[in-house]
Symmetry: none
Subunit: 288 residues, 2 copies
DNA sequence: TTCCTTATGAAACATCTGTTTCAACGGTTG
DNA sequence: CAACCGTTGAAACAGATGTTTCATAAGGAA
């Protein structure tokens, strides 16, 4: 089974010395350079001594620097066939079942979906939705079934700099209670994909009745909740998979987080860093 | 104005001598060879003398053989990163803050990451990891902090056709207990991104000690847990956002689900449909 | 035929490449 | 404090690289 240089670097990164890491980082970032240029040329442009690169190859388990370069060559050769062509071949030539083929199909579908997402969202639409979320006193996140995990992810991202984002996860009992505590100065963000959980639909219904602004993200124009939402986004999710793909949805969610972060003010990022340091000092995370 | 080697060959082909044509044909057919290997190596494998290749470069209007190789390098580099240019432009061309601009940047970054993911996974690597997961009696899913939601999502997808996938979510106490119940016939799938939760790292450590096969997905080569895992994937996550992007990770996870679904047998999809019907008949979902 | 031109590879050449040695440095341990 | 260890780059080294020279061969013209 073939192993790429990047993987070798990953396997050995922990045991590398300072300079070897610098060299390894350069190799990981510039694989084509390594495959095509000479050791000394790479050494010069990266600012590390030639000897270090020679040592790096051995530290990564290669016999030689040349052996490492051979791996790079193989990767470059694989890359030479343009990705889009392979994706096209795979889509038209039927179903290869090797891991790389399936991966290529998924990747192609994701690229397709993300491109469409980017193209099909009208100007100003995102701002309007983000405005609602930004001004809201509290934001309730609703997602069931497959959407539950993503809503959780969104809630995690937001909790770093916005205190009042509440995740109403898969567990349904809390939802009604949480909704009853919200008013027009709050907001609801719901995520629902096929198959649509009734719970999410009724949450939107309830929100509308109580005058709570809603942002709704779904995958079909025929979703029953679409007319109920104040701000609705339809994200393409078609894919080769049996289930629908969430990649484009993640992009949209992360974009929303980005926009909210920008509105949160200049020092929001500082506050996040502080919170991260706090997390680290509690021994929860591992520092590189 | 760049001219490729192929074009130069076309322009000069008529004026070339016999051997020079043989050499030119070889160069046109194997541009990667020329870009990556030495003149003498190319000469040997093509059966033409080294001197001829040196002369060919000049006959095509290059100063040098090295100048010709530089053109080859440029071509390889260009083809290698189809999306990255656009992504790079968007990322570096300064910070438009309108919703569409931010979305475009995120989309570009996601496209970039997905392309790299597709490219940098070695053949056979996915299969090996999926094999482990498929054969496992039980699979424990580990993810903390930002990865918790995605792990949850994966667990949800899998529960439709694989009974024994257990999610060890953000809550840490259950993790140790769950791990202690696993053995070499089981598997652990862990997801960890910067900042890396210590809990995930130690889960992998524990799994390794107990001989449990592990699949590990992370975002940095420097992750401390990388050497501990039996099957490790490094997914690119760079993005315009303060936080790292999970879009490419979602693609990888969905691909894994796809491959597992394929191995689950032909009737797995039928069983899922039946389960969905069941869910619907319980009044949980809304049918379009 | 002889003379001249062109094409070609072997070999010689200076240069460059990757490796290894070695001395210097910084940190740790006794 | 000294002794020791791992890390690092400069320099030395053998071998490889790209170019050029040169001898040979093949053809064309006189």
């Amino acid at each position: 089974m073939a192993i790429t240089i990047e993987e070798r670097i990953g396997q050995h990164y922990g045991g590398l010395s300072d300079k070897l890491r610098v060299a390894a980082d350069y190799v990981a970032a510039n694989p084509v350079e390594v495959a095509t240029r000479s050791l000394r040329a790479v050494a010069t442009t990266s600012g590390v001594s030639p000897a270090t690169f020679s040592r790096l190859a051995r530290a990564l388990g290669y016999d030689d620097y040349e052996a490492m370069r051979d791996d790079g060559r193989a990767a470059v050769g694989r890359r030479m066939v343009p990705f889009s062509q392979r994706a096209h071949d795979l889509r038209t030539s039927g179903a290869g079942q090797s891991g790389r083929e399936v991966l290529a199909r998924h990747a192609a579908a994701a690229l397709h979906n993300v491109s469409f997402l980017e193209r099909d969202i009208a100007p100003g639409k995102l701002e309007a939705a983000v405005d609602v979320l930004h001004k809201a006193r509290r934001v309730l996140l609703v997602g069931s079934l497959g959407s539950s995990g993503l809503v959780d992810y969104l809630g995690y991202q937001m909790h770093w700099f916005a205190a009042d984002w509440i995740v109403a996860g898969r567990n349904g009992t809390a939802l009604a209670a949480a909704l009853s505590r919200l008013g027009p100065e709050d907001a609801v963000l719901a995520l629902s994909k096929t198959p649509h959980a009734k719970r999410s639909v009724s949450a939107l219904e309830a929100a509308q009745k109580r005058g709570i602004p809603t942002v709704f993200i779904t995958d079909t124009y025929s979703s029953p909740a679409l007319p109920l939402a104040s701000h609705a986004f339809v994200v393409p999710t078609e894919g080769p998979q049996f289930f629908s793909s969430y990649a484009a949805t993640v992009v949209l969610l992360e974009t929303i987080v980005s926009l909210l972060l920008a509105r949160a003010g200049e020092d929001a990022e500082d506050r996040i860093r502080a919170a991260e340091d706090q997390l680290h000092s509690l021994g929860e995370t591992w520092a590189p």
